[in-house]
Amino acid sequence: MCSKNHGEMCNLAELTPDSLKNTIVHKEKLSPVLTLFEIRAPLIANSAKAGQFVIVWTGEHGERLPLTVSDWDAANGTITLIFQEVGRGTIELGRFEVGDEIPSLAGPLGQPTEIKDFGTAVAIGGGVGTAIARPVAKALKDAGNELITIVGAREKSLIILEDELRSFSDELIVTTDDGSYGRKGLVTEPLKELLDSRKIDFVVAIGPLPMMRAVADTTKPYGVKTIVSLDAIMIDGTGMCGGCRVTVGGKTKFTCVDGPDFDAHEVDWNELRARKAFYFEEESKDRQATLAGGDE
């Protein structure tokens, strides 16, 4: 990339591997398990759209990890990733510091979320899913929707991006499972109240599988169009391996190229849960080993 980092596309023939180093320019711990990176990635910043993701590879022994582009700044040539440290890959990624270069970062991948003026839209983020929901919520607002945002987490320290979401949402509802902040309970409770009390035209839910499934079950009787962003296990993220396949409406889809957004009422949730849990043993072993080797 040219040295200016500006948003427009410059002479692509001048690109070199060295000019495309994915350097971390900012790091922030949003909570004990949530980390934010702002990374220099001008080409991706230039073309990213709400709902798309990147694949991060942490080095020779690493896995390819899909992470949503939570924010991007085309003018500065940076993208923001927010990730939860759940296993070996994300724990290792969390050890990168400002100035470090991410060995490989490719994207933006997947179909952008379909954004238009639906009328009244509800955007729901659960846990780290809030980071993914943010650009979608913002885009919905920008498209003219009345935007109600619901953010849920297990407990207070896991609530992220509250101020920012409040700044552009017409209404913001926070829930925690344990009642340590906002309303006590699950995101589906205020959602149900909204559905009962007014006309809701569109719902998008991003978060842990059980949450997205519960949202789907909640909106289904009301016939409200509901979109979820699925986090199937991926490798390449380009449609080459088929490892990310899900059944939607009885048809096989590749999450990385046909998704990650799908109609929540059509997803085969049991199958997705099974496929996501398949490597549980291997992952647990790896996670333990990574935590143990943490101080090297």
Partner: protein
């Protein structure tokens, strides 16, 4: 004097030993074996073998050089038209190409052309001192940039040929590593990684820039390349989208496409402890299909320690599309064949993981379009086989990404990019294509052949566009 007789056998790693490692199976001829094999060649005046080689290597010429002990000269002769001889000598389906047309094949065994090609290439690599710097033919062309999409054999060939002419070439590759199928598909026991790395380095030494992690169509589009700095674009994006069976239970966990299985192991090295990508070692793996990909999946499954590996195929042995040599190798390594059998549905356990396959017995009916007898299910012949891992290896289609993001690019109904066969140019001026992206899954050497044609086409296109007449 040329003489008849059987051809020299390829020395191989012992089967019992090799199923425990990923080292190369075929060990290569010694100098004596190579000369002896070369002596079998009749140096035919009409060179029938050459017509079988998609890049028209002057086969008798290089074999004559081996006969006369000039191994480096032989390699140079091959390299006149094939820049990746160490790879082709290993993975070309020679028995369908050059060796099929060898005069000796009519009465007995053809000359081991591929084996000799491999010998010459390996000899040169082992004995050449410093890589002689290749001077571009026409440095003046360096002001013209060409973009290549995909770092498989087609892309590497176009890039290498154009760089030799003097053009500035950048390859954009979606994955984090180079090589395309040569790295993520073909296992290292057939194509050692150091050989692939050497060939990629050679292309880089010609001045080609390789930029990984760029997904053309997403990071930027073909049209952006033409608008922002490049005179021409070559699309060599391969045929990477796996075909599936479309039957009940196919998305149970434990069911992989051939691509996923091979990518986990070959690219991500999931079978090795220190690598993060997980894989489960199968007790009983079934591989569906009988092409080269299926053989690679089965033999890879044996090597990572599977207890039992079975190939399930709906036709009979003589219709198996894989190379005879690979089928033999697989069987020697303990892979079982279950022929005239077709899966009807996959059966899962309480956790949603595959545990068995319900199959149908098949018999062969009338020939179909492919000329092979069509398999027909035997009524009420359902039976169950156990499997905790299933690998569906039925081949690949072109990945739709470039097609769907490049306006005006004409493709076949099945996705292959349509080109002018003589120049490699697509329906868009300045955009060329070749390899599996055009033909569907084919061979390494045909992808390279297509790359050569496109390199000439691109050269001509740029010269015409800029009125360049100099040689």
């Amino acid at each position: 004097m040329a003489r008849g007789g059987p051809r020299n056998k390829m020395p191989q790693q012992d089967a019992a030993k090799r199923v425990k490692n990923f080292d190369e199976v075929a060990l290569g001829y010694t100098e004596e074996q190579a000369i002896d094999e070369a002596e079998r060649c009749l140096n035919c005046k009409h060179k029938p073998c050459v017509a079988g080689c998609p890049v028209n290597i002057d086969i008798p010429a290089f074999i004559e050089l081996i006969k006369s002990n000039d191994f480096t000269g032989a390699a140079a002769e091959i390299k006149k038209t094939n820049s990746l001889p160490a790879i082709c000598g290993r993975v070309c389906p020679q028995e369908e190409q050059c060796e099929k047309l060898c005069i000796l094949a009519k009465k007995g065994e053809s000359v081991g052309i591929g084996r000799l090609e491999r010998f010459a290439a390996d000899y040169e690599a082992a004995h050449s001192t410093a890589e002689a710097a290749v001077e571009p033919e026409n440095p003046g062309l360096g002001q013209y940039n060409v973009a290549v999409v995909g770092c498989g054999p087609a892309g590497l060939t176009v890039a290498g040929d154009l760089a030799k002419k003097g053009y500035s070439v950048t390859i954009f590759e979606a994955l984090h590593k180079t090589g395309g199928v040569l790295r993520y598909g073909i296992p290292e026991f057939r194509l050692p990684r150091n050989i692939l790395d050497r060939e990629v380095k050679y292309v880089e030494s010609l001045g080609v820039k390789i930029i990984t992690d760029i997904i053309v169509g997403r990071t930027f589009r073909v049209e952006d390349l033409l608008r922002n700095g490049f005179e021409a674009v070559f699309v060599g994006s391969g045929a990477g989208a796996p075909k599936l069976m479309g039957i009940e239970g196919e998305n149970l966990s434990g069911i992989y496409s051939g691509n996923e299985w091979l990518t986990r192991i070959n690219l991500m090295r999931a079978h090795r402890e220190e690598y993060a990508t997980p894989i489960k070692i199968p007790q009983k793996a079934c591989v569906i299909g009988a092409g080269n990909t299926a053989m690679d999946c089965a033999r890879t499954a044996m090597r990572i320690g599977s207890k039992e590996v079975t190939i399930v195929y709906r036709r009979s042995r003589s219709e198996m599309p894989a190379r005879a040599e690979e089928i033999e190798n697989a069987e020697e390594e303990g892979v079982k064949l279950m022929l005239l059998t077709n899966p009807k549905r996959f059966i899962g356990d309480e956790k949603g993981a595959v545990k068995a396959i319900e199959c149908l017995r098949m018999e062969l009916g009338e020939p179909d379009d492919s000329g092979r007898r069509r398999p027909v299910a035997v009524k009420d012949s359902e039976f169950i086989i156990q499997a905790d891992t299933v690998i569906v290896a039925l081949g690949q289609n072109p990945n739709p990404l470039i097609r769907s993001t490049t306006e005006g690019l004409e493709t076949q109904s099945w996705g292959g990019i349509i080109i002018n066969e003589e120049t490699g140019m697509t329906s868009i001026a300045g955009v060329f294509a070749g390899g599996d992206a055009v033909t569907g899954e084919a061979t390494v050497i045909s992808a390279m052949g297509a790359g050569k044609i496109a390199a000439e086409g691109i050269d001509q296109y740029i010269r015409e566009k800029h009125d360049i007449t100099t040689e």
